[in-house]
């Protein structure tokens, strides 16, 4: 049942354009049924998962390689699956309003639904290879989504950038997963996670962690790979809302959480996650404040949110897991809502610049209400889930001990305060203050655009008020997945009121700092912009430099490797061949051991002598006729050898073929003159002679080695013994050709036919063109 659920998105995506064509402008309501049904299906797992059960579904895929289509539902996977399908439902509906009348909307649904299915695959996959395949599918489908407006070069650049960064990280992830599989002896992640001591004890542990984290960090836009995420805002708003609230970028967070019971617990893991997470949190939150585009502000706060999540998971403590679980829900709900309402504002007013917006609360009351609720949750106000999240977060960082705890708490306070400023920019600026003139006259957005924000914002409130429910069904099971065992009730406990303790004061401090920051936002923005201008370099520019460097390198390399001169390629090929075979003969062996002069009959000497002389003459003479004659001599001498060594059929064939070869050679060479320019200089001839002799010697050595070894004659003996009784033929060679190995022969006469047909085409096509007046040549 799980496999159809996961891939149903691909199936529906494949037919989405026809659905749009058939249903028309209201297709999104129909298409949204699938994610809604999936949401209900996943919700059915909630009671079981809340009790600590896990569900596993497996279908054979490539059994020989240990690759199964196995899926695994536990607290972590289920929470993600619910977010993906639930928010996906509203995104599909939102798309119908946002891209209303867009002629390519069908194509958009193809990408969007495929992306949703890939994302579900990532979070539900249990087999490492399955996980990787879906992981790369999310990279590919997000590439298509980000580049949806492919006529614009900025979109194309953003799409390619996202693909290179996340796809490249995916390759690192694959290497890491395979290492884990090799060490742990299984590719099923659920089994790997039960043997942390095996993974930790392996000398490859460091490599595993670095590779897996490279994949996770690139996907989740951790500093310094965060630059692709804001650039991806080139995509239409539904994409931003979906990819950057709950899905694509959370895949890295998911991965870190998923790997935490197996790989977590070491110092490397702790410091990598906490340091990268904290730096990303601060960088993202700071950079958010210098933006003058609602979507970019949200994008950078997303970067900050991702950093926060990675940091919290990195704490590797129950409190950290609890904070991560709560913040994950908080962030998905408010970020999805705010992206969608920012898109609605853009849709209605024609601008996303907060400096140009103001006083929209009267014109767009419903959107305003949703955005306000989400903004309150983002700022961590009672009784929203965001408040709980912030309390738990401070509790987790304070728990770390005197030095680390203080540093990390201060960083978290700073990050959260900056996030509050961003919330003000996104919510207060557009909706309060005086009305400003905007490109379009604003009205309330259509229902498609505010339905999602309203539901998500409402859920943010509900999850906070009904916190025991949130705890039992969502956060506690997710903590269990990250820790490896279900937490007891005390460890998982959430609360709205915990007494007058330090976290509460820190929350108040954060709020105060945030309000102050919002008041001075204009100044902060300008000084930030000035600082960044002074630095003048950023990872985004670095990306361009790396790409330019790679292009330069490949250009130089092509210059060296692909000269366009046939002989260069051939010289390299022959030299490498000779050198490698000699190297193998010297290191592995297989060459001849001794040379004994056999008894050779006089007639055989004659044939061999003719052959050598013919070949030598063909090499040395420049006259065409002489060369043809020499080639003929070689061929007939080979035929003589076949006669003398019991191969009458071969001799026959060789005689006939040699005759025809000479005929064809004469026919061609009659028309092609000797090219005097094409003679080689002395230096080139010496070089070529050295290479040729080396190749010849290698052939002789290998062949001598072969004939001095053993020969397996079983097949030949089988053919000889069954030729008459089974195949009614006395000529064993012919029986092999037309009976035992007839399929090979059939293939070979196909080749002969194709050779004839190609000749016919080459000559006739040229004649035809000539006669058709299309000018000379072209046939070659």
């Amino acid at each position: 049942m799980m496999l159809p659920a996961v891939i149903s998105g691909f199936a529906l995506g494949a037919v989405a354009p026809w659905v749009v064509r058939a249903v028309g402008a209201r297709a999104h309501w129909l298409l949204a049924v699938l994610p809604a049904v999936l949401f209900v299906y996943f919700a059915g797992f909630l009671p079981g998962v809340a009790e600590g059960q896990v569900y596993r579904f497996a279908t054979e895929w490539v059994p020989g390689l240990g690759v199964t289509l196995s899926f695994y539902v536990d607290g972590l996977a289920l929470l993600f699956a619910l977010l993906i399908s639930g928010i996906g439902t509203f995104i599909v509906i939102y798309t119908g309003g946002y891209l209303h009348g867009h002629e390519q909307i069908g194509r958009f649904y193809v990408y969007l639904l495929s992306f949703m299915a890939s994302m579900l695959g990532v979070v539900l996959a249990d087999n490492a290879i399955t996980l990787f395949v879906f992981w790369e599918l999310t990279s590919l489908t997000s590439f298509l989504l980000i580049g949806f407006n492919h006529e614009e070069s900025r979109s194309r650049r953003a799409a390619v950038q996202a693909l290179i960064v996340t796809g490249g990280g995916g390759l690192a992830l694959l290497a890491g997963l395979l290492l884990m599989g090799a060490v742990g002896g299984t590719l099923e992640i659920s089994e790997l996670m039960t043997q942390p001591e095996v993974l930790h004890g392996s000398p490859l542990y460091t490599a595993m962690v670095i590779l897996v984290l490279a994949g996770a960090f690139s996907k989740s836009a951790q500093f310094p790979l965060h630059f692709w995420l804001p650039n991806a805002m080139e995509a239409p708003t539904p994409v931003s809302a979906y990819l950057h609230s709950s899905t694509m970028v959370k895949a890295g967070v998911y991965l870190v959480a998923r790997m935490s019971p197996g790989l977590g617990g070491s110092e490397l893991w702790f410091y990598a996650l906490v340091i990268f997470g904290a730096v990303t949190m601060l960088t993202g939150a700071l950079l958010a404040l210098r933006q003058t585009d609602l979507k970019l502000v949200l994008a950078y706060t997303t970067v900050a949110g991702l950093g926060t999540l990675v940091m919290l998971i990195g704490l590797s403590a129950p409190l950290g897991y609890k904070a991560a679980a709560v913040f994950l829900i908080t962030h998905a709900l408010y970020k999805g809502c705010l992206f969608m309402s920012a898109g609605a504002v853009d849709h209605e007013t024609g601008t996303r610049n907060p400096l140009e917006l103001g006083g929209l609360r009267g014109a767009m009351p419903i959107t305003f209400a949703a955005a306000a609720l989400a903004g309150l949750s983002m700022s961590g106000i009672v009784p929203f889930i965001g408040f709980i999240g912030k309390e738990v977060m401070y509790e987790a960082t304070l728990h770390l001990g005197p030095v680390g705890g203080v540093v990390l708490t201060i960083a978290t306070i700073a990050g959260n305060a900056l996030t509050i400023v961003a919330a003000g920019v996104v919510v207060l600026r557009p909706f309060f203050g005086e009305r400003r003139k905007t490109p379009k006259h604003p009205h309330e957005a259509p229902v498609e655009l505010y339905l999602g924000p309203c539901v998500l914002a409402g859920l943010g409130l509900l999850a906070g008020i009904a916190y025991p429910l949130t705890q039992d069904s969502l956060t506690a099971p997710m903590m269990g997945s990250m820790a490896g065992t279900m937490p007891d009730h005390r460890a998982a406990e959430l609360y709205l009121w915990h007494g007058l303790k330090l976290p509460l004061f820190l929350s108040l401090l954060t709020l105060g700092l945030g309000i102050a920051g919002y008041v001075y936002w204009d100044r902060i923005r300008e000084s930030l912009a000035a600082t960044l201008r002074a630095i003048g370099w950023g990872p985004d520019l670095g990306y361009d430099q790396v790409i330019a460097g790679v292009e330069w390198l490949s250009f130089r390399q092509v210059r060296v490797q692909q000269t366009g001169y046939l002989r260069h390629y051939l010289i390299v090929t022959f030299t490498v061949f000779a050198a490698f075979v000699v190297w193998t003969l010297m290191t592995v062996g297989g060459g001849p051991s001794a040379f004994e002069m056999p008894a050779v009959r006089l007639t055989e000497w004659v044939a061999l002598g003719l052959m050598v002389m013919g070949a030598g003459a063909a090499t040395l003479v420049y006259s065409r006729i002489a060369a043809i004659a020499a080639i003929g001599v070689v061929g007939y001498a080979v035929a003589l050898i076949f006669v003398m060594f019991s191969a009458p059929d071969l001799a026959f064939t060789q005689f006939m073929v040699e005759t025809l070869t000479v005929v064809i050679l004469v026919l061609v060479l009659m028309r092609v003159p000797l090219e005097v320019r094409a003679f080689r200089g002395l230096g080139a001839r010496i070089r070529d002679a050295v290479i040729s002799i080396a190749v010849g010697v290698v052939f002789t050595l290998v062949l001598m080695g072969v004939v001095q070894g053993d020969l397996d004659l079983r097949l030949s003996e089988y053919f000889a013994e069954t030729s008459v009784p089974v195949a009614h033929g006395h000529n064993i060679v012919n029986v092999i050709l037309v009976d035992f190995r007839a399929l090979d022969t059939l293939g070979e006469i196909f080749v002969v036919t194709v050779a004839g047909l190609s000749t016919f085409a080459l000559v006739r096509l040229a004649l035809f063109k000539r006669k058709g007046g299309a000018g000379e040549g072209g046939g070659a």
Binding site: P648, D649, F652, T653, M656, V657, T659, L660, V663, I664, L667, V668, R671, A727, H728, G729, H730, N731, V733, N734, V735, L737, V738, D739, A742, L743, T745, L746, I749, F750, V752, T753, A755, G756, L757, T759, F760, L762, V763, R764, A766, L767, R770
Partner: protein, 139 residues
């Protein structure tokens, strides 16, 4: 080439060589010979003919386009493998039918024989095509 001797000899040799090629092809299962060799011999006969009288006359003498001969041969070879399907055997399994007409005539019909005829025709068709096309090609 305008040589009376060549013309006369070719007319005589042509039929002899062609008959010989068929003989070589048929005896191939038990003696040296077979479709490849027979085909090469027959092709050389036609190439000889075209050398004596020119490609146009050689085509005339063939009566059918040379590539059709090759195609026909490929068809025979492929179809010979299909018969075994009726006997429930894999593709290209040899089937034999040896009717006992009387003691004197030893006749053996088989799918490998049909296959070898196919090879024979393919070799003739392809090689004659290459030779005649080259002979006629214009710069």
């Amino acid at each position: 080439m305008n040589s009376v001797i060549l013309h006369t000899a070719t007319r005589l040799l042509m039929s002899l060589i062609l008959m010989f090629s068929v003989y070589i092809m048929f005896r191939g299962h038990n003696e040296p010979g077979g479709g490849f060799i027979g085909g090469l011999i027959a092709a050389s006969a036609i190439v000889l003919y075209s050398a004596a009288f020119g490609a146009t006359w050689a085509r005339q003498a063939l009566r059918v386009p040379s590539m059709s001969i090759a195609g026909c041969g490929l068809f025979f070879a492929a179809i010979s493998g299909v018969f075994s399907a009726f006997a429930g055997s894999p593709f290209l399994t040899g089937l034999w039918w040896i009717p006992h007409l009387n003691i004197e005539v030893h006749l053996a019909l088989s799918t490998p024989l049909l296959f070898d005829i196919g090879v024979y025709l393919v070799v003739i068709g392809a090689i004659v095509t290459i030779a005649l096309e080259m002979e006629e090609a214009e710069d």
